[in-house]
C-alpha cells in the first residue's frame, strides 16, 4: 500500500510518541520508587532523630526499645554484615561451578550445551524462591546440623541455597562471555600448537574476564536482593554474625519479616525503609560496577 509522504511522517511521529511514552512511563515509575524509598528511609534520621552513624555502626537491633539517650536502638550493622556475608560466600560457592559448566558447554560440547544443558539451567530461574527456601529448610539445614552441630540455621546454609539460586544467572552470563571470544583467537592458539586446556586457560579466559566479572557482579546483586529463601534458612536473629553456623539476619530478611507487622509512620516502619534504602544504594553500586567493568573491557579490545 502506497502512503503519501505526509501520512508516512504522521505514522512515524505516532510510533515515536508511543515508544517515547513507554520510556517516559518507566522513567517516572523508577524515579517515584526511588523517591518513595528515599523519603521514607530518610525519615528515620530527620523525624525520629536517629544519628546516621549509630544506625550504620550500631550492633543492637531492637526498634521497639529506646536506649539511654531516648533514641530507638536501631543498629543495622548485624544485617549489613549478614547481607555481605551471604552474598560473598554464595558467589564463592557458585563461581567455580558456573565457570566449569560454561567452559564445558562453550569449549567442549557446544551442541549438547546449546540444545540441552543451557535450557535446563535456565529452567532453574523459573523456580519460585519459596521452593528453594523449603529445600533449604528440609535438606540443607539438617545436613549442616548433622556435621557442624548447632541449629543448622545461619550464613552457611543460606549461602548454599543462594549459590543454587544465582547459578543460572552466573552460568548463562559467563557462557555468553566465553562465546563472545572470537574464534580467530582460538584458531591462532591452536595454530601455535597449544592444547585445548592451554587455549582456554591462556586465551579464552583472560579475554572473557570482563564478562566473567560482570556475571559475578550480577550474581552478587541477585544474592544481595533475595529475600524469601534466605529468610527461611538464615534464622533471622538480629545479632552480630559470630560464625557461619549461628543464626544471623540479612537486610532483606528483616524487612520481609517485619514490614507487614508495623504500621506506617511508626519509628519501626521508618527504620525498615532505611534498611531498604541501604539495599537500593547497594544495588545502584552493583549496577555502576557492571558499567565500569564493561567500559574497561571494551577499551581493552
Amino acid at each position: 500500500m502506497a502512503l503519501s509522504t505526509t501520512s508516512k511522517r504522521r505514522l512515524e511521529r505516532r510510533g515515536q510518541f508511543i515508544s517515547g511514552l513507554a520510556v517516559l512511563l518507566v522513567v517516572v515509575l523508577v524515579c517515584t520508587l526511588i523517591f518513595m524509598v528515599c523519603s521514607r528511609g530518610i525519615a528515620t534520621f530527620t523525624r525520629d532523630g536517629v544519628p546516621l552513624g549509630s544506625f550504620l555502626t550500631g550492633r543492637t537491633w531492637n526498634p521497639h526499645q529506646s536506649n539511654e539517650l531516648g533514641q530507638p536502638t536501631v543498629g543495622a550493622l548485624p544485617m549489613v554484615l549478614g547481607s555481605f556475608g551471604v552474598t560473598l560466600l554464595s558467589c564463592a560457592f557458585s563461581l567455580p561451578f558456573a565457570l566449569g559448566a560454561s567452559i564445558f558447554v562453550v569449549e567442549v560440547a557446544p551442541t549438547f550445551g546449546r540444545k540441552f544443558f543451557r535450557p535446563l539451567v535456565e529452567l532453574l530461574t523459573g523456580i519460585p524462591s519459596v521452593v528453594f527456601g523449603v529445600i533449604g529448610l528440609t535438606m540443607v539445614v539438617p545436613w549442616t546440623r548433622s556435621w557442624a552441630g548447632g541449629t543448622g540455621y545461619g550464613i552457611l546454609s543460606s549461602s548454599i541455597v543462594l549459590a543454587l539460586m544465582i547459578f543460572p544467572t552466573m552460568m548463562s552470563l559467563t557462557a555468553d562471555a566465553l562465546s563472545a571470544v572470537p574464534d580467530s583467537y582460538r584458531d591462532g592458539s591452536y595454530g601455535l600448537g597449544c592444547t585445548r586446556w592451554q587455549t582456554v586457560c591462556h586465551v579464552v579466559l583472560p579475554t572473557a574476564l570482563p564478562g566473567i566479572l560482570t556475571a559475578t557482579i550480577m550474581g552478587m546483586a541477585r544474592a544481595f536482593g533475595e529475600a524469601l529463601a534466605v529468610q527461611m534458612v538464615i534464622g533471622n536473629a538480629a545479632q552480630m554474625p559470630s560464625s557461619l553456623l549461628t543464626p544471623a539476619s540479612t537486610l532483606t530478611s528483616i524487612i520481609t519479616t517485619s514490614m507487614g507487622n508495623e504500621a506506617m509512620g511508626t519509628v519501626y516502619n521508618d527504620v525498615l525503609w532505611s534498611l531498604a534504602l541501604i539495599l537500593l544504594i547497594m544495588s545502584m553500586a552493583f549496577i555502576l560496577l557492571v558499567h565500569l567493568v564493561g567500559r574497561k573491557g571494551s577499551s581493552n579490545d
Binding site: L137, Q231, N236, P247, S258
Partner: protein, 307 residues
C-alpha cells in the same frame, strides 16, 4: 454492637459507590445490584478488607458465603499483616482493617484508635509447641518466661533430658508474639543479648519446630499437628474450653476494625461475621473460638472482666 443508621451512613454508602467506579479495573463486575432477589438487591457496594494473615482464611470463607447471599456486594480480602490492616483503615483507604491485636498497640497516637470501631469476631488460642524429641510435657508460666527471656537454655533445667533449647520467635510486631509475650512475659524485658531466631509465618514456624531438635515456639491452636508437641502450661491443656474460662491465659481477639460510620455493605458484612451463620460453624471449622462462648472479656489495657 450498636448500629447507628444515620445520614452520615447514607453519605458514606454513596462514597463507597463512587470509590467503586474508581476501583473499576480491580473489581470488574462487582457492585452491580442483584437483578432478581429484591432483598439482596438492596445491598450493594464493594468492601475491601486488609490485614492479619491469621484471620484471612476465616474472613475469606465468610465473604464467599456472604457474596453468595448478596450478589450486589463485592468483598475483597487481602493479607499484609496486622500493621497494614490498622494503617489502611486508619488512613481510610479500606473499609475493614483486620488485626490480631488492639489498634492501640500499633498506632503511636493512642487517640487515633478511638476513631475506629472495634469488632471482635473471634478468639484465637495459642500455646507453646516443641519438637517431638523434647521429653517435657508441662511447663509453668515462670519456666516459659525463663525460656523466652534467655535465662533457661537447657531442657535439663525444666525436667527434661540434657539438650539445648532452640527458641524460635515470631517477628517482633506479629500479633501472635504480642499475645504470647503479653500473657507469658507480662511486661518483663527481654535482655538485648538474647536474640533468638525470628520467623514471620505460622506455617514456617511449624515446619522449623518439626525439623529442629530441641526447638520451642508458639502457635495458634489451629496449627497444632501430630508431628508437633503442644505443651500444657501449669497443668492446663491448650483447649478451647479452657480459653473460654480464661484458665488458659494465652489467647487474643481477632479484630475487624471499621471506621466509626461504616457504609451499609460493610456494616452488613460485620453483622454477618457476628451472626450464628459464621460464629456457630465457620469460626470453629477454621480453628477459632466463637466470641459468643467467652465467659470473660479483656480490654486493650489487658484488664480481664467476667462477661
Amino acid at each position: 454492637m450498636s448500629r447507628n443508621l444515620s445520614r452520615r451512613q447514607f453519605v458514606s454508602t454513596a462514597g463507597a459507590l463512587s470509590a467503586l467506579f474508581a476501583l473499576g479495573a480491580c473489581t470488574t463486575g462487582g457492585g452491580r445490584p442483584g437483578p432478581s432477589d429484591p432483598a439482596a438487591a438492596r445491598l450493594s457496594g464493594s468492601v475491601v478488607a486488609v490485614g492479619s494473615t491469621a484471620l484471612q482464611p476465616l474472613v475469606e470463607a465468610a465473604a464467599e458465603q456472604f457474596m453468595a447471599d448478596n450478589p450486589g456486594v463485592q468483598i475483597t480480602v487481602q493479607g499484609g499483616g496486622s500493621g497494614q490492616g490498622i494503617t489502611q483503615i486508619h488512613e481510610g483507604s479500606v473499609q475493614i482493617g483486620n488485626s490480631d491485636v488492639f489498634a492501640e498497640s500499633k498506632l503511636d497516637n493512642k487517640e487515633d484508635a478511638k476513631r475506629l470501631t472495634d469488632n471482635k469476631v473471634a478468639v484465637v488460642g495459642m500455646g507453646p509447641v516443641v519438637n517431638s524429641s523434647v521429653d517435657v510435657d508441662d511447663l509453668t508460666l515462670d519456666q516459659l518466661k525463663g525460656i523466652f527471656t534467655g535465662s533457661i537454655t537447657n531442657w535439663g533445667q525444666v525436667g527434661g533430658a540434657d539438650a539445648d533449647i532452640v527458641v524460635i520467635n515470631r517477628a517482633s510486631g506479629s500479633g501472635t508474639r504480642a499475645t504470647f509475650e503479653g500473657a507469658v512475659l507480662k511486661g518483663a524485658k527481654v535482655p538485648d543479648t538474647f536474640t533468638p531466631q525470628e520467623q514471620d509465618s505460622s506455617g514456617t514456624v511449624a515446619k522449623m519446630v518439626t525439623e529442629t531438635p530441641g526447638a520451642i515456639s508458639y502457635l495458634a491452636f489451629s496449627y497444632f499437628a501430630n508431628d508437633l508437641k503442644a505443651l500444657k502450661v501449669d497443668g492446663v491443656e491448650p483447649a478451647p474450653e479452657n480459653v473460654e474460662t480464661n484458665d488458659w491465659t494465652i489467647w487474643a481477639y481477632e479484630h475487624m476494625y471499621t471506621s466509626s460510620a461504616p457504609d451499609e455493605a460493610t456494616q452488613a458484612f460485620i453483622d454477618y461475621m457476628l451472626s450464628d451463620a459464621v460464629q456457630g460453624s465457620l469460626v470453629e471449622q477454621t480453628g477459632y473460638i466463637p466470641v459468643s462462648g467467652m465467659r470473660v472479656a479483656v480490654d486493650a489495657e489487658g484488664n480481664v472482666t467476667k462477661a
